[in-house]
């Protein structure tokens, strides 16, 4: 026995949540492109499984730009006001399984020793409803990093598009249950995801190669086409590096947290002028090492869900999968 919900029932469930003051984010179409956006009516969303998205769902947990506190000078004193707690319930619907899988990957980082309440409060208040994939493209490689087209990691409910205007609902958590309870009907229809994308490299072996080949000239060679724009980091569901910047004036202003990217030359530039990662090759090495060596060393997860958004967005047809393939071909398999 399965549970199904029609598209109209899904939308009315979302409208009901919106009317209760809940924030809802869903894929919104802009011409041929779809991106996750906050919506005010369920009709604004486009509810079908997609391979390519213009962004990931991470910005509903880790916004591009977020105020940490405000300050005002009063004579020689400075009065600080904390940013408000995140207290709204939030639903992110239409996530790809590889978007949702990034959340458990990021949990230990934001909860490592010091607790980042900005991420953690959003995480606790958010219900993630994912769509199982119905197709993959040449950029997808979730299977290489432990994912799949119907990966349940990070989702509160996984929906399978039945192709007849309805979805099979697989509730995974209490939050998912709370959203769908009483909204679904019994059925004998079950959904199916697409075949897993195929890859002919093994990430473990590449990670070992990265560990052993810090000084390889391959890093500079494969990075020649990278222009250091950072788009790969901004579309990545797991990239979390950030900058902290003061805005406003000397007398009144705020501290904000902004997304940052290790591909930009300023990222590690010291005040002295020294830069430990002064070339694009060193910066790509950092990106790949962070994803496949440093992060697993620290937190047991690859910092990558194989979504392929980086290479889909790259103006130079670069990104994690092409880099892994190049390292595999010219490093691992060439025995270098």
């Amino acid at each position: 026995m399965s549970q199904i919900i029609t598209l109209e029932q899904l939308k009315s469930a979302l409208d009901e949540k919106l009317s209760q003051g809940c924030r809802v984010a869903a894929p919104v179409l802009d011409g041929e492109f779809a991106s996750f956006k906050e919506i005010t009516k369920a009709d604004q969303g486009s509810y079908e499984p997609r391979v390519a998205m213009q962004n990931s769902i991470k910005e509903f947990f880790f916004p591009k730009h977020e105020t940490l506190f405000t300050f005002v000078r009063q004579g020689q004193d400075v009065v600080l006001t904390d940013a408000p707690d995140f207290e709204v319930d939030q639903i992110v619907v239409g996530a790809r399984p590889c978007d949702a899988a990034a959340l458990p990957v990021l949990d230990p980082l934001f909860g490592w020793d010091y607790q980042d309440r900005f991420f953690q409060q959003r995480r606790a208040k958010t219900t993630v409803v994912s769509f199982a994939c119905v197709k993959s493209d040449a950029h997808c490689f979730c299977t290489a990093v432990g994912g799949s087209p119907e990966n349940t990691s990070g989702s509160d409910a996984l929906l399978f598009d039945l192709g007849d205007g309805s979805f099979e609902v697989r509730v995974l958590t209490d939050k998912g249950k709370a959203l769908f309870e009483g909204k679904t009907t019994d059925s004998d229809k079950t959904g199916q995801s697409c075949d897993a994308p195929t890859v002919d490299f093994e990430v473990d072996k590449i990670a070992d190669w990265i560990r052993a080949n810090f000084a390889s000239p391959l890093w500079e060679k494969i990075s020649l086409r990278c222009v250091g724009c950072g788009a790969c980091a901004f579309v990545c569901p797991t990239c979390h590096c950030f900058d902290m910047v003061d805005e406003g004036s000397y007398n009144k202003g705020k501290k904000v947290k902004n997304w940052d990217s290790c591909q930009e030359a300023m990222f590690t530039l010291h005040a002295s002028g020294h830069n430990p990662r002064g070339t694009q090759g060193k910066r790509q090495r950092q990106r790949l090492s962070h994803k496949f060596v440093t992060y697993p060393d620290k937190f047991k997860f690859y910092l990558c869900t194989g979504c392929g958004s980086c290479s889909r967005s790259c103006g130079q047809m670069f990104g994690v999968r092409p880099t892994l393939e190049a390292l595999d071909k010219e490093g691992v398999k060439a025995g270098q």
Partner: protein, 279 residues
């Protein structure tokens, strides 16, 4: 829930100009409760802010013996934040987050001879531990301090060097790269730090060395220490890297899998040899 990114407002108690472009600042918490409960370990660092301008990372440069009353940091005027920090006066407010990172293993160093080697602006991260060891003089063996700067005018904590030399069993060997002009008072050497270190005849075995300074000074000092019997486990340094959060999250201060902000800033030479050359 606590906001880990929000600094504490600190009152500036005093400002001392150390060189043409280095100042030392003494601060305390504006909140008396925070001040009363504040504790840091010698060698830890903080993140200091000029509100509306930005934050910078500096070691806490004094011992922790007055930690509930005040602590200090030094900075060189070199960028946007420090240009504005230069103008702070007693009574002004700056921000502080910390203390962060690990610290010097002062307990393990008890009973041993100590060799401190510093160059230029690297005196502050060593000053804290020198102060601590002198305050606890009985616990440590012979103390040798080798400190150099480009010119006499670039020496940080110059007056304190002479005070330290008055303690029993303490050698202060100070040097400058460039001979002082006529009329400039100077009772130290004119040589590079590694040369002075070599001439000092410090001996490893029951001794540890703490070496902080520009990369070239470190590079040339390490072989001298090795030749004199210091093992890689007995040589310490304090690293610095660009940081934003200091909390192991913002993702930029790592050398390979080591986060300088969390696992550092204090490392032994043995640990550094195991890290990739990401400096």
């Amino acid at each position: 829930m606590e906001n880990i990114y929000k600094p504490d407002p600190m009152e500036v108690l005093g400002v001392w100009q150390e060189t043409g472009d280095v100042k030392r600042v003494r601060i305390r918490f504006r909140d008396p409760e925070k001040a009363k409960n504040f504790h840091f370990n010698v060698g830890q660092f903080g993140i200091y802010s000029v509100f509306g301008v930005g934050e910078s990372v500096f070691n806490i440069c004094c011992s922790n013996s007055h930690q509930t009353e005040y602590f200090e940091f030094c900075f060189r005027k070199v960028g946007r934040v420090t240009e504005r920090m230069w103008d702070v006066e007693p009574g002004d407010t700056i921000g502080f987050r910390g203390p962060f990172g690990n610290s010097y293993p002062l307990k393990e160093w008890e009973g041993k001879d100590l060799v401190f080697v510093a160059g230029g602006i690297a005196m502050p991260p060593i000053r804290c531990v020198i102060q601590y060891c002198l305050e606890n003089r009985d616990k440590y063996g012979k103390i040798t301090i080798v400190y150099g700067a480009r010119t006499v005018g670039d020496l940080v904590c110059k007056d304190e060097l002479d005070e330290w030399a008055k303690y029993p069993n303490v050698d202060v060997l100070k040097t400058v790269d460039v001979a002082p002009a006529d009329g400039v008072e100077w009772n130290g050497r004119v040589d590079f730090v590694p040369t002075v270190l070599k001439d000092s005849n410090v001996r490893g075995g029951n001794a540890v060395a703490l070496v902080v300074g520009p990369p070239i000074m470190i590079k040339l000092s390490l072989p001298i220490l090795s030749e004199n019997g210091f093992s890689d486990d007995d040589i310490f340094t304090s690293l610095e890297n660009r940081m934003k959060c200091g909390l192991g999250k913002c993702g930029r201060c790592n050398c390979g899998s080591v986060y300088v902000c969390k696992e550092g800033p204090v490392f032994t030479q043995a640990m550094i040899k195991n890290m990739p050359d990401d400096f």
